[in-house]
């Protein structure tokens, strides 16, 4: 249903444009526009007018490529991976609607990881130079962008904690609780969802082998904490899962 203010927009192009805008995006409360006023939103809309479809298995950018934009996930699901010279690679993050990709590239002007779609997806392109420009004029935007970067750092510390001092069960529990919360924030069920990534990708992110991930899933299921079949997960006992992720080994 078109909003009253859009009713007199007669050109299809204009309508398309409207659909692209942050101001009408369902994810604006999770994404870059958080805290912006109506007028400010309009200015951000002028900056973010390009979108791009990314087919499953293809990448937005790859390590080594020139950095010049950030990407906001509009729809779909992504992973980022870094790789060592010897071919080993590791998943460093999973990204869903409203989350920002590409901040790793600012420091060196080159991307340092690959951002790969785990399903057919769509991203909004945020030219970084213009974002800096605009955030020089818009206090709120500037501050919110700093918050987003800071949270990425805190998230990474959480993963370091997980990789450095948690056992396999605790890691998977933490992973599932985190996914659950993020689905909830996006209006999806926190207790029932489809995993977009393989066991191997989960393992890579958690510093485990796929067999271990599979075994821990089975153990959780045996203990009645959740049910899994393939990529479909239903969490039955979130409190127990949550308790597990901060518990001593013995």
């Amino acid at each position: 249903m078109a909003s009253p203010s859009a009713a007199h927009a007669v050109q299809p192009l204009s309508l398309d444009r409207l659909k692209t805008a942050c101001s009408t995006c369902g994810l604006r409360e999770l994404c870059l526009p958080v805290g912006l006023s109506g007028e400010e939103l309009d200015r951000l809309d002028n900056l973010i007018y390009l979108r791009k479809s990314i087919k499953k298995g293809t990448s937005i950018y790859r390590a080594g490529e020139r950095f010049d934009a950030l990407y906001a996930v509009r729809a779909g699901f992504f992973k980022t991976t870094v790789l060592l010279e010897d071919g080993r690679d590791q998943v460093t993050g999973f990204y869903m609607g409203g989350e920002l990709l590409g901040m790793d590239g600012i420091g060196t002007e080159k991307h340092t990881c690959d951002a790969v779609a785990l399903e057919d997806s769509e991203v909004c392109i945020i030219p970084f130079g213009r974002l800096e420009e605009l955030s020089r004029e818009m206090h709120n935007l500037q501050h919110h962008f700093h918050k987003v970067m800071s949270r990425e750092i805190v998230r990474d510390h959480g993963v370091m904690m997980l990789l450095g001092s948690m056992r396999a069960e605790e890691r998977l529990a933490a992973f599932l609780v985190n996914l659950s919360q993020r689905f909830l924030a996006r209006g999806y069920s926190p207790s029932e969802f489809y995993l977009r990534m393989t066991r191997e990708e989960i393992g890579s992110y958690l510093g485990l082998k796929l067999e271990t991930v599979s075994r821990v899933f089975s153990r959780f299921q045996d203990e009645g904490m959740l049910s899994v079949q393939q990529k479909h997960v239903r969490i039955i006992d979130i409190p127990r899962l949550r308790a597990l992720m901060g518990q001593r080994p013995c």
Copy 2:
């Protein structure tokens, strides 16, 4: 010895002030002022006029405390640690001269880790609100600050890689090579230095137990790659150490 330009500054306060300024700080090429012109540097000096001494073992800030400033290490050495409810804690980083601490706090306005001095140290206080203000007016400062945050993210990805897919020897090699480079960038010897942290702190950072760290040090020494006694390290074969950190297990 006072520099010629400071010779006619008669008030002790003024001299003190001069010593505090970024413009005369030996670390300015590594720290926040990177890329600033003379006039810009002066403006930054007006912002960063407070310093603080931190005794060994005490902290600049602790998790949960209100965030309102960043801290640049002027002298000394720090670790940051996060802790789980159950008491487990983990070192998330080591910081030396010219590096910025506290960016984790921006996102939630509360610090999320403790920043503890590993030796008597000194930090410059950078009030964050004023930094945002100034970086709205100064392009270069804004961009450099974004780069610093981005590099923190990339550094964390490196640690995640290390924790998630490297063996103990590779981890310690990577750690030593990293330290070596950072000492070099600060004009110290890249091949001979004193560790400011204990084996336990190294282990915590690398996801290993102190005994393992100790054993790997001994193994490296037996193989002639370095010599260690207590906290004194002399690296004999950097190339071999470097080769080790990107090698397959077998």
